[in-house]
């Protein structure tokens, strides 16, 4: 069974990863 703590962990990791990907994409687009 997936515990609450595991869900929280997956959530924050996805959040941080999404942030990094977003910045990489935006920056590469804005600053060639």
């Amino acid at each position: 069974m997936v515990k609450k703590l595991d869900l929280a962990l997956i959530f924050v990791l996805a959040w941080l990863l999404l942030g990094r990907v977003l910045i990489a994409v935006m920056r590469d687009r804005l600053v060639p």
Partner: protein
């Protein structure tokens, strides 16, 4: 209220909420050695400081990025903060000693400096998506405040449980530091040509990994010291 406005609004909100993860991470790392009852106040202070700072930076983003060596110095500063945060002794959870090494003001100060540097990396993305609509930026950042306060608490709790999130956080700071350092306009001018994207990524990942290794090694050394 055109379609264009709503599209800009939506992208700004998504970007701000996503980038709030960076704020939450830095705040969680800085407050984790405080006693639990003071962590909440430190998180509020840190979030307020981070939000005010990001707003200020966004209004002057384009000028800031042209200041010679600002990004290079910011990158170096971020490496120092990353190492400091991952090596911070967690007295509160691991030993019986009270009086943690960090004070509330120290924690707020670290949050402020780290966020200033991290924001330099982020503001371009935000400013670009807003297309000069400052109202949108302010709205998006305002929306992210509760998320940062809540997210930093969640991260701090997870860091107590899973040591490796702290190492990962340090790694992210190191990764950002290299990218910022190498993209400094004055440094690129001095080098003659910009570092290729592939090399930049490789170096960023390498420093990130190095900080993770430092964190792992220092926590191992601490465990060993406690056992003797």
């Amino acid at each position: 209220m055109t379609l264009e406005f709503w599209t800009a609004l939506l992208s700004i909100v998504v970007i701000d909420l996503t980038l709030a993860g960076d704020n939450a991470l830095v705040i969680a790392m800085a407050v984790r050695s405080l006693p639990r009852e003071r962590q909440f106040v430190a998180r509020l202070l840190g979030t307020g400081a981070a939000v005010a700072l990001r707003l200020a930076l966004i209004t002057v983003a384009t000028y800031l990025l042209e200041l010679p060596f600002l990004q290079a110095v910011g990158g170096l500063l971020l490496v120092w903060i990353a190492v400091k945060l991952v090596r911070q002794d967690d007295e509160r959870t691991h030993t019986m000693k009270s009086a943690p090494a960090t004070s509330m003001w120290q924690a707020t100060w670290i949050i402020l400096v780290a966020d200033a540097v991290m924001s330099l990396d982020n503001v371009l993305a935000v400013a670009g998506a807003a297309g000069g609509e400052l109202v949108l930026v302010v709205f998006g950042i305002g929306l992210s405040i509760p998320l940062v306060v809540w997210g930093s608490g969640l991260l701090a709790r997870l860091m107590d449980r899973f040591m490796w999130i702290i190492w990962l956080g340090g790694g992210i700071l190191g990764y950002v530091a290299v990218r910022m350092f190498l993209r400094d306009a004055a440094l690129v001018h001095w080098l003659g040509e910009p570092v290729s994207l592939g090399l930049e990524r490789a170096m960023a990942v390498a420093l990130g990994a190095l900080i993770v290794a430092v964190a792992w090694w220092s926590s191992r050394a601490r465990v060993a010291a406690r056992q003797t």
